[in-house]
Symmetry: C2
Subunit: 104 residues, 2 copies
Amino acid sequence: MSDQQNKYEHLDEETLFIVSQTFKALSDPTRIRILHLLGERECNVSEIAEELSLMQSTVSHQLRFLKNLRLVKFRRAGTTLFYSIDDEHVMTLLHQSIHHARHD
Amino acid sequence: MSDQQNKYEHLDEETLFIVSQTFKALSDPTRIRILHLLGERECNVSEIAEELSLMQSTVSHQLRFLKNLRLVKFRRAGTTLFYSIDDEHVMTLLHQSIHHARHD
DNA sequence: AACATATATGAGCATATGTTCATATAATAA
DNA sequence: TTATTATATGAACATATGCTCATATATGTT
């Protein structure tokens, strides 16, 4: 029989990268606010900026970040882009964390 | 009757702070590796450094970070400090994320 | 075409972050 | 006490991050 040392199974590089990227997306207050708002309703860029008192440019930059990670998606209506959530799993993580922050 | 506008309920500052801090802790590969290892077994500082091929100083700095957020705790045995997980909820978030990273 | 509106993008800047090196501290042993 | 081992800490550095400003692009309108 082989040794019963039960060596530790390291996380592989790819998993580590994906996981850290995901949490990084959720680690910034501005992105959390944007995701939380989009969790309530679909919004265009200027609506987000106004509702959250952010510069249009700030919102646009963060939306690009979130879109690259496929956490949000958008549909076009003329010159207006409506953004919405594209990753329910990440929203679940966010909502769990919010729930715990409030009840701990 | 009042308007049925259903205004958006903003996240309060404190929740936002706690949530972003929590995810920030999980957003760094080194901290993820340390937490994941401690999720398997209690370890002292040098064990962590050796198992993960990190400098003792790096491990110690990150453990302080995690301890400040009360994600880990330690017990003393002579000059040796054994660290272990102190926040099962955050470990749940981590494990969920790892699971999804592997299956998506 | 010219113009208006909505959004995206690049550069610059200030701040935050993570690692390393050198050294300090703490507990124990001789 | 001195030496040894384990861990913590501060400073310095390089890189990453997030915001703002100015401007570009894209669509629609006249």
